[in-house]
Amino acid sequence: MSTVTVQLFASYAETLGGTTLEIPLAAGSTVGDLVLSIRSLPGAYALPESLRVAVNRKFASLDQVVDSRDEVALIPPVAGG
């Protein structure tokens, strides 16, 4: 078991009440597993159905493996421009 720190921004930081989450994950866990854990948190019902996750500053697919050394972030719908 290791703990992955997930950075939160903008509306998601407000929804989940902080700028980071500490999520315990078993070795070999994927982005998909991480998303399932996040969805079980209080307040997570307000997150949209589709969640975008970045690992090491790149958008990640659900089957990508993550561990505690990765820089992980949950990316709300972007609105630049």
Binding site: Q7, F9, A10, S11, E14, P48, A54, R57, K58, F59, A73, I75, P76, P77, V78, A79, G80, G81
Partner: protein, 145 residues
């Protein structure tokens, strides 16, 4: 040369033009996005932009690499501002130079469209009635974006 940055100061398109200007180019295309006074029928008084800066700059760099490959435009700079912005302020500027106008124009268009899809930047609009909301383009009701 190409450069991408998230900045907290005012953006000067003139300085960006000076950065890419060269006698080898016959065209410089400039796109500037500015803060508009209405959105989805609501009266906007100001906008706070925020970003996941390290990823936003990395994603902008990837977009510029794709622009070089796709349009042959490698003299291009992009700056996106974050923090509190007032009506009319420049929030983003893209300046692309090329020997000919078509690739320069195509490059600026490509970069702004990609920014809107994939660069982790967010905005919270302040409305004339005192309320404020994070803008979610995936939920927008407006037609023209």
């Amino acid at each position: 040369m190409s450069r991408a940055a998230i900045v907290t100061r005012e953006i000067s398109p003139a300085l960006l033009i000076a950065e890419v200007k060269s006698p080898e180019f016959g065209a410089i295309s400039v796109f500037a996005g500015t803060v508009r006074e209405t959105n989805d029928g609501r009266s906007v008084s100001a906008i706070d932009y925020s970003a996941y800066t390290l990823m936003a700059e990395a994603e902008l760099e990837r977009i510029l690499a794709e622009t070089a490959e796709e349009f042959g435009v490698s003299a291009i700079v992009v700056e996106h501002r974050v923090g509190p912005l007032a009506l009319g302020d420049v929030s983003v500027a893209i300046v692309a130079a090329h020997a000919h106008r078509a690739p320069a124009l195509d490059a600026t268009r490509f970069v702004i469209e990609e920014i809107k899809k994939r660069v982790p930047i967010w905005k919270r609009e302040h409305y004339a009635d005192g309320s404020r909301e994070w803008v979610d383009p995936t939920q927008a009701t407006g037609v023209a974006r």
